[in-house]
Point group: D2
Chain length 124, copies 4
């Protein structure tokens, strides 16, 4: 079609940001987690995803209150990692372009969104 085009640099970098979020979530969802093991898991998530191309920084916060509540409600003394226990920020860069994206719970769904695009020229 006439309006079909290749992506510009900002679009490609947004795609990269999405890859990191999908990777982080689906690599680690299901991991057994308790309060005592939350920090090591968060650190491993950050450092492993930071290996991926263009990935500048990953910040994983475990929502400890939510985690403790789920463990108290559950049948075991740990739970499986899922989005309700996470807040994640990922920064990707390419040259002078930077994309900041975030995952946080939104009405029960772990919503992943781009917060800001910076640098370059929009549409260039």
């Amino acid at each position: 079609m006439s309006d079909q085009r290749t992506p510009n640099a900002a679009e490609s970098l947004c795609f990269e940001a999405g890859i990191k979020f999908g990777t982080l979530y689906h690599q680690f969802a299901g991991t057994p987690i308790a309060s005592e093991s939350a920090t090591s898991l968060a650190t491993a998530m950050e450092e492993s995803i930071e290996n991926q191309p263009h990935c500048q920084a990953v910040t994983v916060e475990i929502r400890e209150d939510e985690l403790e509540r789920a463990i108290a409600d559950g049948a075991a003394d740990y739970v499986e990692l899922t989005g309700r226990f996470l807040e994640v920020e990922i920064v990707v860069e390419d040259g002078d372009l930077e994309v900041v994206a975030r995952m946080e719970m939104d009405e029960g769904y772990p919503l992943m969104q781009i917060e800001t695009v910076r640098g370059g020229r929009e549409g260039a």
Copy 2:
């Protein structure tokens, strides 16, 4: 900073395409696979990822030759799924915008890239 902005619709959809690729790859990497079970795994990958928001179509092709070669070279009669056995196309849509992205091997690395962006106005 002065040039920081929120994403436009095309950038957000490219982010969505990336999420699907990261999900598909890291949910299923490591799955035991042989020639006989390749089709059912490919179908499950397609149908599960198509559940995600904005995801219009997922096409997973198993590279059978590569798979058979790896099994012949290996110590077991199956291998673990990894990028060298896959070619994937994902189409995401949002209103009149469409993004087509692809994963294929590029010099030994499973490269994920946007092929085309269609519709909307660039930068709008």
Copy 3:
């Protein structure tokens, strides 16, 4: 210690059965699932795990009622796969030994257990 010993054949086969359950659960937990994609995912789970050594048969049943209830309660039109949507039976064999193991929900926890050991001589 004086009472330390190597495993007998039945113990080794029970270990194999456990490997299959851990694999099945943690490979696929987190996969996006809806009613329409439940069958293909169950089939892929069965066929992929059956590739593993000594694995004679894997039967995965998706608990459709539970799945539909969770989707109705949730914010999206799919959910992530977890134990509450699954009933699984795995049969492993080694020579004339057979172990049948099962996973089903038990007071909110996906309990994995050996049901029967057959053949061989106990402790031999």
Copy 4:
């Protein structure tokens, strides 16, 4: 059949050991790993699996030489975690019973095996 029976305590504990190995391997296989991020990933693997029932201790060693060789041979500055980079020991306990199991590479295949069973009475 006449020789069908329920598992004894040692067999059930060997099953538990297997679950831990399948979980560890298939939860984390595919994770992006480089030398710098190897330690945090190993720690997270240990601490998360130790949450599971009966799990007394998990020791994960990353085979650094093998990892560095793979990265040097590869197209990126990281690789995906797989068995060739791992040596794992898992100890599970139930009352006075203890099972020690290990995973290490054996002719190119990540072989998981029980090393020792201790305590209890065999076949009891």
